[in-house]
């Protein structure tokens, strides 16, 4: 790595991709792949937890994909991608050595450092753990500064859990408290079955809800009801953040696709404080 290289944070030209090399690609789930990307000049790529990049599959197109790696490791970018369309499908078929276009990092981030001394509660649904993971890494890096760290994971079934190797590691090292719940399971499953909100009471047992900072990421319905459930328990709506998903083309607030009421999700989000968008979450087709 070049010592003199500046991190790619200033976004020299936010409209023009830079070429990055896939150094490793591996399958996480049946339709989900993770890519490890490195810059060609060895320059670091700094980002804040919760931000995303526009990844360009050559000749196919671009998609907004959240960054899922450790923000302290600026020598690489991790992206976890589900094959749901032409572009994401092409990205999941990339192999080590292939190149991809990258624009970013874009968007707002999960506030972690500002929440010192509080109980951090991460609520991830499905692939929602991918955009949350950088915030968890950041919190774990200064673990002693937080009262507690809890992760509630919701998934379709036990075999659909993202990053199971990492969940096992975090649990084994007592780095955080983990509550997993799935929508259905076979009889061998000894964990919970049910929606994430059913885990709240046990996850927060003995914790003053006024001292909880919550980070929700997953399907919009899950975040909507999750935030409502936490608020009912006494968690401040000003201490809850969630990450919105909308169509994105430019990622810099110029194309209009991600309009969400008075905000562009790409540049005013994707991470929003709950009280700022609570009304919009219950308006249909906004």
């Amino acid at each position: 790595m070049r010592d003199s290289a500046e991190p790619h944070t200033a976004i020299a030209d936010p409209m023009l991709p830079i070429a990055m090399r896939v150094s490793e690609a591996w399958r996480e789930l049946d339709d989900v792949v993770s890519l490890r990307l490195v810059t060609k000049d060895g320059a670091p790529f700094a980002f804040a937890p919760g931000q995303f990049n526009m990844l360009y599959a050559f000749g196919v197109g671009e998609a907004a994909i959240s960054i899922s790696g450790d923000p302290a490791r600026t020598g690489e970018l991790l992206h976890t991608i589900r094959d749901v369309g032409a572009v994401s499908g092409a990205l999941t078929r990339l192999k080590a050595g292939d190149e991809v276009g990258v624009r970013g990092p874009f968007g707002s981030s999960w506030p972690v450092d500002s929440e010192h001394d509080r109980h951090l509660l991460f609520v991830a649904g499905g692939l929602g753990l991918a955009p949350l993971r950088p915030a968890i890494y950041r919190a774990l890096a200064t673990r002693h500064r937080f009262a507690s760290i809890t992760l509630i994971m919701g998934a379709r079934s036990p075999r659909d859990l993202l990053y199971p190797y990492q969940l096992a590691g975090w649990t084994a090292s007592h780095a955080l408290r983990l509550n997993i719940t799935v929508d259905h399971a076979g009889p061998e499953w000894t964990g919970s079955v049910g929606v994430v909100t059913t885990e709240f009471a046990r996850a927060l047992a003995g914790i003053d809800p006024a001292k909880v900072s919550a980070y929700l990421c997953g399907p919009e319905i899950m975040m909507r009801f999750g935030a409502m459930g936490l608020a009912d328990m006494g968690v401040s709506t000003e201490r809850m953040w969630l990450s919105m998903e909308r169509s994105m083309k430019c990622a810099i607030g110029l194309c209009g696709h991600c309009q969400f009421g008075p905000d562009f999700v790409c540049k005013d989000g994707p991470v929003f404080r709950h009280d700022e968008i609570a009304r919009r979450l219950t308006l249909k087709e906004i």
Binding site: G154, H184, P187
Partner: protein, 156 residues
């Protein structure tokens, strides 16, 4: 060592904390302590629902079996939860299996006893209503969420 009475246990239990003394006196006469080893069945689909179980300790799984796929856990229940409501609804037949996932302690209430006392004492019946309805409402709401298959590949 003090041996707790059923009434003591009910009084401490979160589900019954809103019950007044008269109601607790009435209902404790219908209760029994029960223990289930991990893996054992609390209820079997098709059984007469003559009892209702309220969990004190441990986890239970609601299962529905289908040929070829084996039992599928559709919901897990934890301390404070009520295992089933079939006992309230004629023909009072359990509509799913309930299995102890861990060792389970529960209070079981005799359904005929409870319903009989509710008929005699409408105040008890109303307190039971206020206990069951929010619980059932939440279970129905959660069931709807699961129906959405939120985390499926094409779900929003």
């Amino acid at each position: 060592m003090v041996i707790k009475t059923i009434r003591d246990i009910l009084e401490e239990h979160p589900a019954f904390k809103s019950f007044d003394d008269d109601a607790l006196d009435l209902i404790s006469g219908c209760g029994t302590n029960e223990h289930f080893a991990a893996g054992s069945m609390i209820l079997r689909e098709g059984d007469d629902a003559s009892k209702v179980h309220i969990l004190r300790k441990g986890d239970a799984a609601i299962e529905i079996a289908a040929p070829g796929t084996g039992p599928l856990i559709v919901e897990t229940l934890h301390a404070g939860d009520v295992v089933d409501w079939s006992w309230l609804v004629p023909p009072r037949r359990a509509m799913s299996d309930a299995r102890a996932v861990t060792e389970v302690s529960a209070i079981s209430l005799d359904a005929n006893c409870v319903l009989g006392k509710c008929d005699e004492h409408p105040n008890l019946g109303y307190q039971m209503f206020k206990l069951w309805l929010p619980h059932l409402a939440e279970r129905v709401r959660n069931g709807r969420m699961q129906l959405l298959d939120l985390y499926g590949a094409n779900a929003g």
